[in-house]
Symmetry: C2
Subunit: 376 residues, 2 copies
Amino acid sequence: MTIKRPYNFAPGPAALPEPVLEKASQEMLSWRGSGMSVMEMTHRGPLFADIHDRAIADLKSLLGLGSDHEVLFMQGGATAQNAIVPMNLLAQNVKADYVHTGHWSAKSIAEAKKYGDVHVVASAEAEQSDAASFGYVPPVEQWQPRADAAYLHICGNETIGGVEYHQWPDMNSLGLGSLPLVVDMSSHILSRPMNFDSLALAYGGAQKNIGPSGLTFVILKRSLIEEHAPKALPICPSVFDYRKVLENNSLLNTPSTFAIYIAGLVFEWLKDQGGVEAMGQVNATKAGLVYDLIDQSSFYSSRVRKANRSFMNIPFFLPDDRLYEPFLKGAQAEGLLNLKGHKAVGGLRASLYNAMPLEGVEALVAYMRRFEKEQG
Amino acid sequence: MTIKRPYNFAPGPAALPEPVLEKASQEMLSWRGSGMSVMEMTHRGPLFADIHDRAIADLKSLLGLGSDHEVLFMQGGATAQNAIVPMNLLAQNVKADYVHTGHWSAKSIAEAKKYGDVHVVASAEAEQSDAASFGYVPPVEQWQPRADAAYLHICGNETIGGVEYHQWPDMNSLGLGSLPLVVDMSSHILSRPMNFDSLALAYGGAQKNIGPSGLTFVILKRSLIEEHAPKALPICPSVFDYRKVLENNSLLNTPSTFAIYIAGLVFEWLKDQGGVEAMGQVNATKAGLVYDLIDQSSFYSSRVRKANRSFMNIPFFLPDDRLYEPFLKGAQAEGLLNLKGHKAVGGLRASLYNAMPLEGVEALVAYMRRFEKEQG
């Protein structure tokens, strides 16, 4: 089967690896000779149990998780987790600290305020003239978290602003080694090796680097819910209580079975590619191609400080607002899709998740050079 | 492509129509020449908007909804709705009334107690010796709902007990015409014509009669949230606030895009079959075949009163516990799968959702006759 597929730079749901789609297509009417689609399998039966357990084991192995970290599959996306995190962690201690680095941090902060005493320990907003466009991570030395907070929340990668933590804040350097660190990891999980040892909880929607939308991953330390927060708030829906989901191996209710299956195929593909080490190298190369062009050009511009530039989502701008429409039209004509920036920041954005091949980025960069020559 | 597919009597996730799976397989790498899988489409773009809007319009049309009823697509399944319903409807009036007809009612009742003053207006439990096996719907004349409750909740079809409301309780006959009626419709939506005029809200997981798991449907009257309950409880997560989901046409956050696409294919298939009128006839025939055999036999037995027997889920029993294993083994050998009853009631259960063809039920009945002859 040869189908011409364009390069899809969408921020999520986003491109998936072609071999994953091919396998899903082949197995749609009969998974491994079972005569059943994965969608038709009861979630309590041995066939699905195999798919489910393997997906969790592969994700743990890809991320290099230790035995104290658990993987949960839930529903509702990161937006639901913005409520589910505080509902789970604020029963005994209502203090929640947040770092504000842009659009998604702001959403997490606003939602958490429903459930506790929220303190913004640092914000990139004040020093920025354009409030919609947060361009950096405030230096950790300037953070002022409360030592007695239930947790400290950061957004690991701001998908809209294109701001990424390339390493986790060193909580020990703040004298806060025991303050649980919670990370919204929606848009950069599995994009490179990451150290999970210092993370109490990481969550996100699957629809960027993992698979289809409708699936949420939660990675948490057992000690977080056993020692720090043994109970959820009484108003936490049972189905969103981490302790109950964990006890039931994410089968408390019917999970997103097909999405878990696709996620499992993506994990297998990632292993074939060489895991997160290999992806980290390819992703650095891909992002480097675009950032180098931007930095060498006086036509294209980035608003993000170099040290905090995202390798997954690259927002960039043209010198004249009238050029956006022809840029997008020309890109579309060459099979380079979904390059429009989010309405909150405008401009353009290229999302370069794991499934975006190097050739796609080379095609984008070639187009950008040509467009600059024609219009610059 | 000819694949031998068994007959899958699972309670959900359950069998899907083969033409739906075939189409999904064909379109997996390129939806209608777009070069993209539906899973790869941004949920804010025109391609997915078309799929999404058509699925909602087709569901409205299949159900014959009036202009005052809206369809929402959410996540978390009926189990999440057990919390989401009271979180949405109890802000101004904490009284919630429930009818208890079995396993799923019990779950709804237990969850609602977290959010309000819950009153069980009628229960099938007391008169039943076997507490796990509720066998009927308490007569409406015996219900004692509170006229000033925020809503009255029923489970339209108890998937485990096999107890179904074949018509909605006549609230006017109780002098309670303005009490909003809320129905858990997970396991019998679209199974036959239903009158939605008297329903304020219906919800359920998609994984029985609609499509893959990971998708929740909510059907509600605008007047319910505009007049009766204009605000949600302050602790209701934004993403589960019906008003916000409705304002955003179910695109408040990234929805289960692929599951919505499959649901849309199922709706198209249903229209091709003649809609809910035709399904209602086929489903009555299918269920009749099994119930007739049970009633004519002294070998098989049903524990559900005739007037309340479910057309979707038929639990039945053998005269000797030692016969279950050979029954299930023999069935499996003939490609009749997932006939084991739920552990809460034991025995056997045949789920006959829309996608189960008449031939599958004929094969089941033939096997049942043969098994009775051999073992009876």
